[in-house]
């Protein structure tokens, strides 16, 4: 029997809330970026790096990056927990799920570190 099935925080409610809060931020950011490219479809290097290099945008991009990692982890953990099970694939399922989850976590960590260097490296 599973005593603790939480993926990110202390309990499922915290995970649920994190997934929603990050979803709202990522949704607003997506609309903002789409708006930018709609009104400025072909920016030059000056305006593009000017936008991304501005301090408020660096802060927003950092929050978005962390949100992607948290949101992605809760979502992908849920999918792995639902489909990589002994019912679907028999005995090795638990080992397979563990390996997949470690790879997902590593990939998200690389995204965050790569993104942080990108956002703050030029500053």
């Amino acid at each position: 029997m599973v005593t603790s099935a939480t993926s990110l925080g202390r309990n499922g409610l915290y995970d649920w809330l994190m997934q929603r809060l990050t979803a709202v931020l990522l949704g607003l950011y997506t609309l903002g970026m789409l708006g930018f490219f709609l009104f400025c479809p072909d920016p030059d290097y000056q305006s593009w790096s000017g936008l991304m290099g501005a301090l408020p945008m660096q802060v927003v991009n950092t929050l978005v990056l962390l949100s992607i990692a948290a949101h992605g982890w809760v979502g992908l953990w849920t999918v792995a927990t639902d489909y990589l099970t002994t019912r679907h694939m028999g005995g090795p399922a638990t080992a397979v799920r563990l390996v997949v989850e470690v790879l997902i976590a590593l990939a998200l960590l690389v995204y965050v570190l790569w993104g942080l260097v990108m956002i703050w490296g030029g500053a």
């Binding site: 949704g27 479809p41 593009w48 790096s49 992605g72 992908l76 999918v79 679907h88 990939a107």
Partner: protein
Amino acid sequence: MIATVTDKRPVNLDLTTIKFPLPAIASISHRISGIALFFAMPFLLWALDRSLASPEGFEQVRSIMATPLASLITWLILAALMFHLLAGIRHLIMDMGWGESFQAGRRSAAVVFAVFVVLMILAGVWIW
């Protein structure tokens, strides 16, 4: 603690024999688009990295983005992003207690697919 059910109840998880109603297709598409976005991240980070590194890198990304393959990839990533966003907004609305009935769930799933198709046609016109 709830007693464990020990009898062997019939379980059908053979996806090929299950008829999927529209909300189920929306649900699985939401998951697939989420997984797709996870795999799209390296492309997006790479493009952002190069485009900010130098004016030469910016021009490099600009010329790559103009190729048919990159346009297709851009459209596919946009499709995953748009579907995930639309289906996500539907979930958030349901979280607030609106449209949770069976009929409303069907209708909102249909709206998500309809808006998605229109947006992706517009995105196609925009990209090509």
